[in-house]
């Protein structure tokens, strides 16, 4: 292999023929030109073969790009560089493959959702609206999502945070291992199971009725492991030296955790909590079971049926007419925007609270 490379370099006509350190390189414009060429070739082959699906064109172009880069690099630069370029182009193609569905999902949602998304949609419920006609809105669903997710966060964030503090700062031996194990198991609980658990426990055994609060408890079960896991990772990142520095000043352990460890990690912890919120904001299964769904506005999460955005989307889709499809898309857009805003807020807090170097 190495022999082949050396011969190739010698016959490849490197500019400084005598130097063993210089090799022929492809010019910098080659990869972008290759992208254009293979895209054009993909489209050409696709049309010629009568493939209707543009996705197939793209895959042909991607394959051509990878093979083309490898072949060109092998001919000009030699085997090792060709492998390097092969890996690089594979990474790029996979990146594009990953981004395409995301972008197309957002594009589709924005495109279809904006038709009925306006102040009226955000400010009105479905009370008394004939579902087959345009009109109505998602106000009740937005209120429901905000309240249910808010209550779930109030339950899950402190419990998750304290569990993580226990695991990282205090937990030793069997109990800590057991807790870690159960947190791992909880991460995998399907949302419908969390919903069924609260249904049997809260509604059937204890006899409470459907309410936003019941849904929030199921969401809290889903949030907790995510919060524990992310907080745990963040606390582990806090250097031990800082804990020792604080302890050596004669600061008690609990104050060290509260005033030194948590402030150092607060950015990451906030991000983790926000991601957990984003994860449960889209849950519909526990809502169907526990909150029941309502067409009107119910501001009280502790009594009676409420709606929520994912439930509303499902409900409108089921109705199966043009007007309700539009409302479902608009609600989907609201939900995505809600999650996106939460993420931006989390990033903002993380950046604002990040340890500063002042340089």
């Amino acid at each position: 292999m190495s022999n082949a490379t050396i011969t190739k370099n010698e016959t490849g006509g490197a500019p400084a023929g005598t130097s063993s350190l210089r090799q022929a390189r492809l010019p910098r414009w080659v990869p972008p030109v290759l992208v254009v060429v293979s895209a054009a070739a993909g489209a050409g082959i696709g049309t010629a073969a009568g493939l209707g699906n543009t996705l197939q064109w793209g895959l042909i172009a991607a394959a051509l790009f990878i093979l083309g880069t490898y072949g060109l690099a092998a001919a000009v630069e030699g085997g090792r560089q060709a492998k390097d370029r092969l890996a690089t182009s594979l990474v790029w193609v996979c990146f594009v493959l990953a981004v395409v569905p995301l972008v197309s999902l957002i594009w589709e949602t924005v495109d279809r959702g904006r038709t009925v998304l306006d102040g009226y949609f955000l400010g009105h419920s479905m009370e008394g609206v004939q579902t087959i006609l345009p009109g109505g809105g998602a106000y009740h669903a937005i209120i429901g999502t905000l309240e249910q997710v808010g209550i779930a966060t109030l339950i899950a964030a402190p419990i998750g945070l304290l569990t993580a503090i226990y695991l990282v700062e205090y937990g030793r031996g069997r109990l800590a291992k057991a807790v870690t194990f159960f947190v791992d198991v909880m991460t995998g609980i399907p949302s419908i199971v969390a919903g069924l658990f609260i249904l049997s426990f809260w509604i059937i055994i204890l006899g409470f009725s459907y309410s936003g609060f019941a849904g929030a408890m199921a969401l809290a079960i889903l949030m907790m492991p995510v919060v524990v896991r992310s907080t745990e990772e963040m606390l582990k990142l806090v250097p031990n030296e800082l804990r020792e520095a604080s302890l050596a000043l004669g600061v008690p352990k609990w104050r060290t955790i509260l005033k030194v460890v948590l402030p150092t990690a607060v950015g990451g912890i906030t991000t983790g909590v926000m991601l957990a919120v984003a994860r449960v904001a889209g849950e519909s299964a526990p809502i169907v079971l526990l909150v029941f769904g309502a067409a009107g506005i119910n501001n009280n999460p502790f009594d009676g049926a409420q709606s929520s955005l994912p439930y509303y989307i499902y409900e409108q889709w089921q109705l199966g007419n043009e007007a309700s499809f539009d409302r479902a898309w608009a609600a989907a857009l609201v939900l995505i925007a809600f999650v996106m805003i939460l993420n931006l807020v989390a990033r903002g807090i993380a950046r604002w609270k990040a340890p500063k170097t002042g340089r």
Binding site: E241, E244, L249, G250, R359
Partner: protein, 258 residues
Amino acid sequence: MAKRIDVSGLTAYYGNHKAIEDISMTVEPRSVTAFIGPSGCGKSTFLRTLNRMHEVTPGGRVEGKVMLDDENLYGSGVDPVSVRRTVGMVFQRPNPFPTMSIFENVAAGLKLNGSYKKSELESVVERSLKGANLWNEVKDRLNKPGAGLSGGQQQRLCIARAIAVEPDVLLMDEPCSALDPISTLAIEDLIGELKERFTIVIVTHNMQQAARVSDRTAFFNLAGVGQPGKLIEIDETERIFSNPSVQATEDYISGRFG
């Protein structure tokens, strides 16, 4: 203020591993005592037993007595937190709190232990920074993050933080090993000034440094890998470096060993 430390029969473990065995020595008040010896001989471990930081390490445990004047640090009912307020510590790598400003870093020991008046904090911070020879360099940017200082300045900031709580003893675990010669000189000068007020114990790998700053020097060694470290001898620094009573010390100092 400064107190005498009297250690007798001290053995420290990490889990089942015996790190140091049966160490007895006296550290004189208002003086600098240097610990030297090869890596892994337990100098740092021993230093950490002097303010009960050893037991912070999981599995860390100590047998024996450490008398601070007439109080046993390992006596029953002794709170490690109050021990650490009396015996301060400076670590090998500068470790200012990254979320705090220079001012808050120095004030941390007081602020984290209860509420203090702002004026009181200001005077303590100024006094401590002057004590650490850092005041002139940072007085115009007390509200800037402590992590923005150079390595040598950060280490002096950590010393200021340690002396702000007015301990009786100051332990230093290789405080200059991450610093350049000029910062090292600044800290060595500082040690010379601080010994007027504190009992200072310093671990160092640099024998010239031990010779320069310390009044007494203790040499630690270990019989082999996995064996516990032991105190070989402790004496006036001058004697240790000119005419030690144990052959191993002379071999180590003259570079014929380890």
